[in-house]
Amino acid sequence: MKIREDNTARWFRLIAYIVVITGSILCLLPFLLILSASLSSNESILTQGYSLIPKEFSLEGYKVIFQMPDEVLRAYGVTIFVTVAGTALGLLLITMAGYVLQRKDFKYRNYFSFFIYFTTLFGGGLVPYYMLITNYLKFTNTMSALIWPSLMTPFLIILMRSFISSAVPDEVIESSKIDGANDFVIYYRIVLPLAVPGLATIGLFLALHYWNDWFSSALFISDPTKYQLQFYLYNIINTSAFLTNIGAGAGVTLSEGVPTEAMKMSMAIVVTGPILLLYPFIQRYFVKGLTVGAVKG
């Protein structure tokens, strides 16, 4: 028997549709703004301002970028390397830690969980951290400086721990132990295959973090050939704003040679594109992958 929908439910749903649709529009608008600006001619931006639909369609922004692709490609290379290496290594460590910390027969699991969680409560601060990376680990101008700082976070470990404990029943682990499998074999053969949604979700967060990172470059990299993509973009934005300001002050339009505004926006699209393309493939795992259970254990 189907229970009749009452009036309140209809109102509820109406409100829900309005809120969700309004929210979606607000989330999309800024993207359209950048996309539109990247497809506009620089002149129309300078004279008529940014708008949602290109006032004068033009691809000159993209052309400028691909006329001198060396630097962009190098920054791409650095970011892809850091993202792939960091995500792979991070996933390996996070899944191992998550697996161990959820094992009920692992006596000190709560102490170790707290040992990890405590680092979110208290820390040395930026200067001691900066000194650790530059003076003691000597990571300046190396890929390690880009990979090391974001390898693991307590939140991702707890997320993985909760996910494994809800996706892998204790009995499965128990019975394979009786069959004589050692703990690493259980992890590799049984836990990892069952944890795919969790792996996808946490892998995406790691990849996203590495892809979007600009701060590590800003702190630890002085060699421009090793800039991450985002920091490269950050520099372009600030330099071109700088150039435009100087030009305005001197009464000269510098933008004739370089379509600064349009180019900045095209660069923003080029930089964001790949990670957005990754999203639809992983999205279906999300709601399954994001199980959070207590830290307290």
Binding site: C27, G49, V100, G124, Y136
Partner: protein, 307 residues
């Protein structure tokens, strides 16, 4: 034979597990615990040429300078204020939208809107700064273009600190709420249908079902997200503030937080003493704050206590 229950016995029976956990423990030891020793930097006169413990001990002098700069109260107020607003509004918004979304019909509609709401989380903070500049820049910004088309005077947003309170809160929510929304959505999907069926049979309407079933069931998720949010109440969101405001001093009265201040002291003004003492203040104050909050919660209801 080893004695049962001893540490050695435990290590021996679970040696593989310990080995698997070892890299993580080492990572946190080096990456997070080791810098805690560096708090000592706050008590010495900084010198790039010598080791930490060879630097000249100056006691509380660095803190004295920090205090005399007169910015400490403002920075603390801004940092805590923004974070409290972020936590409260962020949770209210993401729980509300998660509930609304979970009650909607239509698989495709749900999927697509959910993806769109999560999309801003994928945008880097550098891109966010492009967006903000796009909207508010005096000459070509969308805001002023629209205002002029309506026949109004353009506004120089970059010289109005008060407006930025709203902008920062808005863009924080814009960028981050989708993330916690999906986490809440995940735990709503985990609630057994039987509860709702039973409530329907008892004649509960949709609001009653949401209020008496969904909301209480989200408590665990809420507590854990709160736990992590509280941990970073004195830091956090550096990227957001730095990329939105940058080094624009006109806006600092409402937009400067401890993190941005420390970063500028380290990278822009090279004032290591100020930077370390501010960092230490940030850590200690934050930690004390959490301990106090925790003990209050513990008094009210032990189950809700963080640790």
């Amino acid at each position: 034979m080893l004695k049962k229950k001893g540490i050695l016995h435990e290590l021996n029976t679970h040696k593989v597990l310990y080995l698997m956990l070892l890299p993580t423990i080492l990572y946190f030891l080096i990456n997070n615990y080791l810098p805690m020793i560096g708090i000592y930097y706050a008590f010495v006169q900084f010198d790039f040429n010598t080791n930490l413990f060879d630097m000249k001990f100056v006691g509380l002098k660095n803190f004295e300078f920090l205090w005399k700069s007169g910015k400490l109260l403002e920075l603390t107020f801004n940092t805590i204020g923004y974070n409290v607003v972020f936590i409260v509004l962020g949770n209210v918004l993401s729980i509300t939208v998660a509930i609304l979304l979970s009650e909607l019909k239509g698989k495709w509609f749900k999927k697509i809107t959910q993806s769109i709401l999560f999309l801003p989380y994928f945008v880097s903070f550098v891109i966010l700064s492009v967006i903000v500049f796009n909207l508010f820049n005096y000459e070509q910004g969308v805001l002023n273009t629209v205002l002029q088309q309506l026949g109004m005077e353009p506004v120089d947003v970059y010289s109005k600190p008060k407006l930025w309170i709203f902008f920062i809160i808005f863009f924080y929510l814009w960028k981050n709420f989708g993330y916690s929304m999906v986490i809440y959505l995940a735990s709503i999907t985990g609630i057994s249908e039987e509860y709702y069926e039973a409530a329907k049979m008892d004649g509960a309407n949709i609001f009653q079902r949401v209020w008496h079933i969904t909301v209480p069931m989200l408590r665990n998720t809420f507590v854990i997200l709160l736990l992590f949010a509280l941990g970073s109440i004195m830091k956090g969101q550096f990227d957001l503030f730095y990329q939105m405001v940058g080094n624009n001093g006109i806006l600092f009265s409402t937009t400067d937080i401890l993190d941005t201040y420390v970063y500028r002291s380290l990278r822009v003004t090279f004032d290591m003493g100020m930077a370390t003492s501010a960092g230490v203040y940030q850590s200690l104050f934050g930690f004390t704050l959490i301990l106090v909050v925790n003990s209050i919660i513990r008094k009210i209801n032990k189950d809700y206590a963080l640790f």
